[in-house]
């Protein structure tokens, strides 16, 4: 018990003194997950729009599939991307394995189902009467879609924030694609798992507190959006 209490005190110390390693790991974590979320959103929101607005055979099944992929185990995505990026994989020549870039790609693939699926839900929940109004007022197809996306703005934002939450808190992809290399691909989650098993509680707790803090901020943001 004493050890844990000491660990907490030292963790707070690490944070308050802006310990270089803590800062470095936190910065890298934010960079990787924010990039993945940003790029993922740019790709996924239009795809979500396309799936929602177009009529095609198998639409129901596709949406079901996407929703099933929400809670895909992160190690499976890690495995999948590993196979793609490894020496014998299709993209092996790009040498992205064990790099931050590879991790970004992995996280993009991980959160795309959430981003696409929740975008579709957000768009579907825009009432038919709003769609009727846009068309009745003479909006072109493009203008009508833009209008609907604007109406679903907050719901789509919530989807993006949720995606970020999943990206930043996962371990499977980060550890398998990144390899947890000190000074290069170590992120908060992978560091916590490594250092805890080594018995270095202070840094684990410090990073844990930071991760909790980020989760709290995410929650506050989501609540703000809910109000709209």
């Amino acid at each position: 018990m004493n050890e844990i209490f000491n660990g907490i005190l030292q963790a707070i110390n690490l944070i308050l003194t802006l310990n270089p390693e803590v800062v470095e790991i936190t910065t890298r974590t934010l960079f990787i997950s924010l990039s993945a979320t940003f790029i993922g959103a740019i790709i996924s929101i239009p795809i979500g729009g396309l799936i929602n607005f177009k009529k095609f055979r198998g639409k129901r099944s596709l949406i079901n599939l996407i929703q099933t992929l929400y809670s895909l185990p992160t190690v499976l995505v890690g495995l999948f991307v590993f196979l793609l990026l490894s020496q014998s994989g299709i993209f092996g020549d790009l040498r992205l394995l064990f790099t931050p870039t590879g991790m970004i790609i992995g996280q993009i693939i991980l959160i795309m189902p959430i981003l696409i699926g929740f975008t579709i839900t957000a768009l579907k929940s825009v009432g038919n009467d709003i769609i009727d109004l846009s068309i009745s007022m003479g909006a072109s197809e493009f203008q009508a879609i833009y209008t609907i996306m604007r109406e679903a703005k907050y719901a789509i934002m919530a989807a993006v924030i949720l995606g970020f939450g999943r990206a930043i808190s996962e371990v499977g992809v980060a550890i398998m694609i990144g390899g947890n290399i000190r000074g290069f691909t170590r992120v908060i989650t992978t560091t916590i798992s490594l250092e805890t098993s080594k018995g270095n509680l202070e840094i684990s707790i410090a990073l844990g507190i930071i991760l909790l803090g980020i989760a709290l901020i995410i929650n506050l943001l989501l609540n703000q959006i809910q109000e709209h």
Binding site: G127, D129, I130, D132, L133, I135, S136, M137, G138, A139, S140, E141, Q143, T147, R150, E151, K153
Partner: protein, 354 residues
């Protein structure tokens, strides 16, 4: 010039909502669409607004065959039509953002028409509302904003689906006065309403709709000369009797209801209905010397006071007639249930229809 021609429009959901409907609307016309619940009013308006396609039929807007044209042409036609829905709808944002939606999608510079928007809002009693959050408006305010939202685009055809239904009196008054003001602009208006009196007040022509157009014409015609039993019942025509009509040589017809023979100056042969407006029937205690061809003896079966008037129901043989009289006359004649009376009405007051 007809701005809109609908031919053979049919639409079925689980039951036939519209059945071979034909309608021609002249430019600048002001048409009221009246019918019972479920008659297909909203469906018809949505089809006119090009929000839905009919199952069959043709729609011609000015010269364009709307069901058979390019997407761009259809969009341009939609831009000339403005519709206010029965249930108020708002976009996210302020009143200004809502009302400037039309100009925005037409590529107009928002700043150039800001003044026009403010003017339009003012005419609907919404001055100062520009920066208000549109979803915070009351039902009446929202409908007024919705009307402003379509009027700003100067539509050639204005389609209104029960625009004042369930609204507060101020909103109703503002909306009605704006609609009346549109007559000067030569805007063609089609308005669905439940309210016969509003229809009479605002519209130059009325169409009675029950899955198809049953009668169309000026309110006076529709309300006092119904073409068929449905219209008669719906507009509340009183004193409807059924019988067999034969045309006599003097330009009159006689209608035999089985218990009475009634003279009418209209000529329609065969199995018919007749209606006589209560205001056209006079009542007396004794037989009088009158030019009216129809005179019958009967007795009072029901008395109902209605403000300054008294509704008296008189039974004549097996038929019933409703007559209105002033309270004074009623009291002067000392009438009660069972009082024997004579009723008279002219042949010209008897409207004959199928």
């Amino acid at each position: 010039m007809n701005i809109l021609e609908l031919t053979g429009i049919s639409k079925k959901y689980d039951k036939e909502t519209l059945r071979n409907l034909n309608l021609k609307i002249k430019k600048g016309a002001n048409l009221g669409l009246i019918g019972p619940t479920g008659c297909g009013k909203t469906t018809l308006l949505r089809i006119i607004d090009l929000l839905e396609n009919p199952d069959s039929g043709k729609i011609i807007f000015k010269d364009i065959n709307v069901l058979n044209c390019s997407k761009k042409d259809k969009m341009n036609v939609r831009r000339k039509i403005g519709m206010v829905f029965q249930k108020p709808v708002v976009f996210r944002g302020t009143v200004m953002e809502n009302v400037s939606y039309g100009p925005k999608i037409r590529g107009q510079d928002k700043n150039a028409i800001t003044e026009k928007i403010i003017e339009t809002l003012k005419s609907l009693g919404l001055d100062g509302y520009e920066d208000r959050n549109a979803s915070s408006l009351s039902g009446g305010e929202t409908q007024r904003m919705a009307l402003a939202r379509v009027l700003i685009n100067e539509p050639e055809l204005l389609v209104l689906d029960e625009p004042t239904a369930n609204l507060d009196p101020l909103s109703t008054e503002k909306i009605e006065s704006v609609i009346l003001g549109l007559k000067k602009k030569e805007t063609t208006i089609i308005m669905a309403t439940h309210d016969l009196i509003q229809g009479q007040r605002l519209c130059e022509e009325i169409a009675i709709l029950n899955h198809e157009i049953l009668q169309i014409g000026p309110p006076e015609d529709v309300f006092s000369k119904p073409k068929n039993r449905f219209v008669a019942d719906f507009v509340g025509v009183k004193n409807i009797l059924q019988g067999h009509a034969e045309v006599t040589s003097e330009g009159l017809s006689t209608v035999n209801t089985g218990s009475l023979t009634i003279y009418s100056s209209e000529s329609l042969k065969g199995s018919v209905h007749v209606s006589i407006r209560p205001e056209d029937i006079t009542l007396s205690l004794d037989k009088v010397k009158t030019s009216a061809l129809n005179e019958f003896k009967g007795e009072i079966s029901e008395i109902r006071k209605q403000g300054a008037l008294v509704n008296v129901k008189i039974s004549v043989s097996n038929e019933f007639f409703m007559v209105y009289m002033t309270r004074k006359s009623f009291l002067d004649m000392e009438l009660t249930i069972g009082s024997p009376v004579w009723i008279q009405f002219k042949a010209s007051a008897v409207h004959v229809f199928r």
